[in-house]
């Protein structure tokens, strides 16, 4: 009798396990796998899906991007509130890395490592990656931060309660709490300018064309052309954030 019970429950278990596995596989097949192509799979095809490119080979560290961003978006001028900034990495001959970002690069860079000690040096301009699967959006407890249908991560300033979860969640350090509004603040890819068919302020003022933005869905756009012509990389790909900021010539020292 006891033996019978075990047998029948085993059969039941195998049956239900097979059903569950079959259903999962069927669902996965129906919903087609979620590969990250250009950061995401867009839903509304009539809208652009914005991405950004930064060409490290072209960046000269003039800091105009950081400066213009503060002016365009009325970002507080204290040297620790930035929507975008520039870092200088200097790899020395002994292998150690020197990283500086005086006032986010706005005041310009002064080379502080003597030439003979330098193995290589480069600038990395940083800003919001406008991730398609952004960690900052996922931790927001009130739905104040979201990915717009155009692929821009925005903050609803009227809805934000200033809890700072998102500031900690962003692996790229792109968020801060606005000292006056007391809510989270970040790069909007100059959403107000994009809507007027103007380039974001940092892209407008970049003197060397190191910064590129564009519609990833439009195969003729500047950005898609840049992606085709260069070997690009996103920051921290291991975190699978779906970052849409593509660096050319990104060195592994970059953090």
């Amino acid at each position: 009798m006891g033996n019978e019970g075990i047998k029948s429950s085993r059969r039941k278990f195998v049956k239900s396990a097979a059903t569950l596995a079959g259903a999962t596989m069927g669902y996965a097949w129906l919903k087609s796998s979620h590969f990250l192509l250009y950061g995401a799979e867009p839903e509304d095809l009539s809208l652009p899906w914005y991405g950004i490119g930064i060409d490290i080979e072209k960046c000269i560290g003039c800091g105009n991007c950081a400066k213009s961003c503060k002016k365009e978006n009325d970002v507080p001028l204290e040297p620790f509130f930035f929507r975008n900034w520039v870092e200088q990495y200097t790899v020395k001959n002994d292998g150690s890395v020197d990283i500086v970002s005086p006032n986010g690069g706005i005041d310009g860079f002064v080379q502080r490592v003597p030439d003979e000690d330098i193995f290589k040096s480069f600038f990395v301009a940083k800003m919001c990656n406008h991730c398609a699967k952004s960690p900052c959006e996922q931790v927001c407890p009130v739905g104040a931060t979201f990915l717009s249908p155009e692929g821009v991560v925005l903050i609803d300033e009227k809805y934000c309660i200033g809890c700072r979860y998102c500031v900690q969640a962003c692996p790229y350090g792109c968020r801060f709490i606005h000292p006056v509004k007391k809510v989270a603040n970040k790069c909007t890819l100059c959403y107000h300018r994009l809507k007027k068919d103007l380039a974001p302020a940092c892209m407008e003022v970049c003197p060397t064309g190191a910064r590129i933005y564009g519609n990833l869905r439009d195969k003729e756009s500047d950005l898609v052309k840049y992606l085709k012509e260069h070997t690009t990389q996103v920051l921290r790909p291991n975190l699978n954030t779906g970052a849409k900021l593509y660096y050319n010539a990104l060195s592994s020292e970059t953090r």
Partner: protein
């Protein structure tokens, strides 16, 4: 067989019904109109951003009046640089036309923000000078026309 319902069940159901409908009513009034239009957020927040004022006008607005500078710039290496890179945000100047509303930087440090020597600047990407040695007593624009840097002034 008749199903026995304890008398407290209908009373509890009534209380539950009232509480749930009060909750739904409050929810209806507390949730903003556009919440959930595209996702779990307030869609009107995007309109709030759209209505923000611009400060940088874009260089097409500059060329409406300054056609001469466009022609001058096109002849030399600064042709790819947009006006507001050096002159700062121009929307106020576009609207007012006042010279006071636009920057005209002239100091060596400003030019140096791009052109000073730095190991991180690639030699072929930008022309660099050592500000400590190159004509120290002069301003850059004493010799160079910033719109046409290789046409030397007398």
């Amino acid at each position: 067989m008749k199903f026995y319902i304890p008398p407290q069940i209908p009373r509890l159901a009534l209380v539950f019904g009232i509480v749930i409908s009060l909750f739904l009513l409050a929810r209806h009034f507390l949730i903003p109109d556009t919440f959930g239009k595209y996702g779990p957020y307030r869609a009107a927040a995007m309109d709030d951003y759209t209505q923000l004022e611009i400060h940088y006008s874009g260089q097409q607005a500059c060329f409406e009046c300054h056609q001469d500078v466009e022609d001058l710039k096109a002849t030399d290496v600064h042709s790819g640089i947009h006006c507001e890179t050096c002159h700062g945000p121009g929307q106020k100047h576009v609207l007012s036309g006042e010279a006071a509303d636009i920057l005209k930087p002239s100091d060596r440090e400003f030019c140096g923000s791009c052109h000073s020597l730095n190991a991180a600047r690639q030699q072929d990407a930008i022309f660099q000078v050592d500000l400590k040695e190159h004509n120290v007593e002069k301003e850059c624009i004493d010799c160079h026309n910033s719109h046409q840097p290789w046409e030397m002034k007398e």
